[in-house]
């Protein structure tokens, strides 16, 4: 077997073998089924949850919060990051502000956000947007600043016009970092979205997790966990495809 295909095979087998081990441990009563229901149990609950439409509707709630919140934070974050990368005065102005605000755990401001925006969708959007905003600002800025000086020289030597300088040199040069910012942002948006749904929602996967714990419906809790995991996995996969599409010039 070639090394590449062996690797792929192992990647496929690893999760399956762990699930199998889990199943065996529950059936042999090594693991307490009240806390760790057998995977076969979870699968049958998953099926019920999917058939009833609860799976789709809750996943959709969480997904749309993540997408709307990420766009609300990500677009201004990217623009500010570009401006900070290009202009030293913009950077001098915003650097200390960001250095002070970035370390605050975003979840710690959720009570304040609920106080301001109430329990509706906007509290979730805002929390996610704030988290994503910082990640995109920081990543975009470093992307612009690490563009090799020789490219700036070439642009100047050929007297490039400002607009072409941004679109042909700075933006594509910073794009790899911008896209890693997007990847980090998706991860953070899922964390913040699910966490916000614990307290301030009547739908979503975070709500499902929290609510099933309250109802001691641990099977459903696991179903929601699996759904969160799959959601994150699919989004990461999608981003990797986007990466390949947008960065064909990167040696892989």
């Amino acid at each position: 077997m070639k090394r590449g295909s062996l690797e792929r095979w192992m990647q496929f087998v690893a999760p399956l073998s762990l699930v199998l081990l889990w199943e065996v441990l529950v059936r042999s009563h090594v693991l307490d089924a009240r806390f760790f229901p057998a995977p076969s149990e979870i699968v049958s609950t998953f099926r019920k949850f999917a058939v009833s439409g609860d799976l789709a509707s809750n996943t959709w709630s969480t997904l749309q919060r993540i997408v709307v919140g990420s766009l609300l934070g990500g677009i201004p974050g990217t623009i500010l990051g570009l401006a900070m990368g290009i202009n030293r005065y913009v950077r001098a102005y915003f650097d200390p502000v960001i250095a002070l605000l970035y370390p605050i755990p975003k979840i710690a401001i959720l009570p304040l956000i609920i106080f301001i925006f109430g329990l509706g969708e906007w509290s979730k959007y805002t929390l996610i947007a704030i988290g994503v905003f910082f990640l995109m600002t920081i990543n975009t800025q470093s992307g612009v600043r690490q563009i090799d000086k020789v490219f700036i020289d070439v642009a100047r030597a050929y007297r490039i016009r400002p607009w072409a300088f941004y679109t042909r040199v700075l933006l594509p040069g910073a794009l790899p970092n911008i896209l890693s910012g997007v990847k980090l942002s998706i991860g953070l948006a899922i964390v913040l979205g699910v966490a916000a749904e614990f307290t301030a929602a009547k739908s979503g996967l975070g709500y499902t997790i929290f609510n099933s714990q309250q109802l001691l419906d641990i099977d459903t809790l696991y179903v929601a966990l699996v759904a969160v995991s799959v959601l994150g996995f699919v989004m990461t996969l999608g981003l990797e495809m986007l990466d390949r599409k947008l960065l064909p010039w990167i040696r892989r």
Binding site: D148, V150, V154, R156, A157, R161, P172, I250
Partner: protein
């Protein structure tokens, strides 16, 4: 060696009492003057840190002089032409642009019709042997091919003056000699005014009409040597020429 600034009959570039002192106090260039004739190939050699790259950056408008002036006097043939094009060291191709886009980059600031740009890019790529690599990304090219593309990017805009900053510095010896030969042929065809910065003495003698030898601390012109070798020159055969060897030795002696 040089008492008065060298005068050229039909100057394309004039360097007049140029001095560059960095904020650190380092005197990179100390009061140098020179005229480069239209159509002349001028090579500048010198040890690392002698200010030869700084000289080119000032000429290309990438850095400012502390005092003195540099002027490009050669008028572009048309209004859609840059006064000067610059070829940089290796790694100056934009990794995110395909070869053809990279080569066409010099047209970004000029209002040249799209199909004319395409025709000229096609022509120059054929001339440097990259016609099959239009759509390749730089990372798919060898070092020599990258520098052929970089040279093509400089020549394609047809500016009367070319600045080249150690364009072959990072290449292996064999590729380097080949590219020197190709550049010589390209220059014979176009007769542009070239300022060619290099640390390769043999490539300077092979290509140049005159070689400026710089010394460092402070950076000054130690000598300007006229290379009186027949053209066209063959980058390999010229090595067997007695006069070639004497020029090389003369320059080595000056750098000691």
């Amino acid at each position: 060696m040089i008492d008065a600034p060298e005068r050229a009959a039909r100057p394309a570039i004039r360097i007049d009492h140029l001095t560059k002192r960095y904020d650190s106090g380092l005197l990179a260039i100390d009061d140098v003057s020179l005229e480069v004739a239209a159509g002349e190939f001028l090579a500048v050699v010198g040890p690392s840190g002698c200010g030869k790259s700084t000289l080119m950056r000032i000429l290309a408008g990438l850095e400012s002089a502390t005092s003195g002036t540099t002027e490009i006097l050669a008028a572009p043939a048309a209004k859609n032409v840059l006064p000067a094009a610059t070829v940089f060291q290796e790694y100056s191709l934009f990794p995110w642009m395909r070869v053809a886009e990279n080569v066409a980059f010099g047209f970004e600031s000029l209002d040249v019709p799209k199909d004319e740009v395409k025709a000229r890019v096609d022509e120059i790529l054929k001339l440097v042997g990259l016609e099959k690599f239009h759509n390749a990304y730089p990372h798919e090219l060898s070092g020599g091919m990258k520098q052929r593309a970089a040279v093509a990017r400089g020549f394609v805009v047809d500016a009367p003056v070319m600045f080249m900053d150690e364009p072959f510095g990072a290449l292996d010896e064999q590729t380097r000699v080949n590219l020197v030969g190709e550049l010589g042929a390209l220059w014979e065809r176009t007769k542009k005014t070239v300022v060619f910065i290099t640390h390769g003495i043999e490539e300077a003698v092979t290509l140049a009409d005159r070689v400026v030898v710089m010394s460092k601390n402070p950076g000054t012109f130690k000598a300007v040597i006229t290379i009186d070798l027949p053209r066209p020159r063959d980058a390999i055969k010229i090595r067997a020429d007695k006069a070639f060897g004497e020029y090389v030795v003369q320059i080595w002696d000056l750098l000691r």
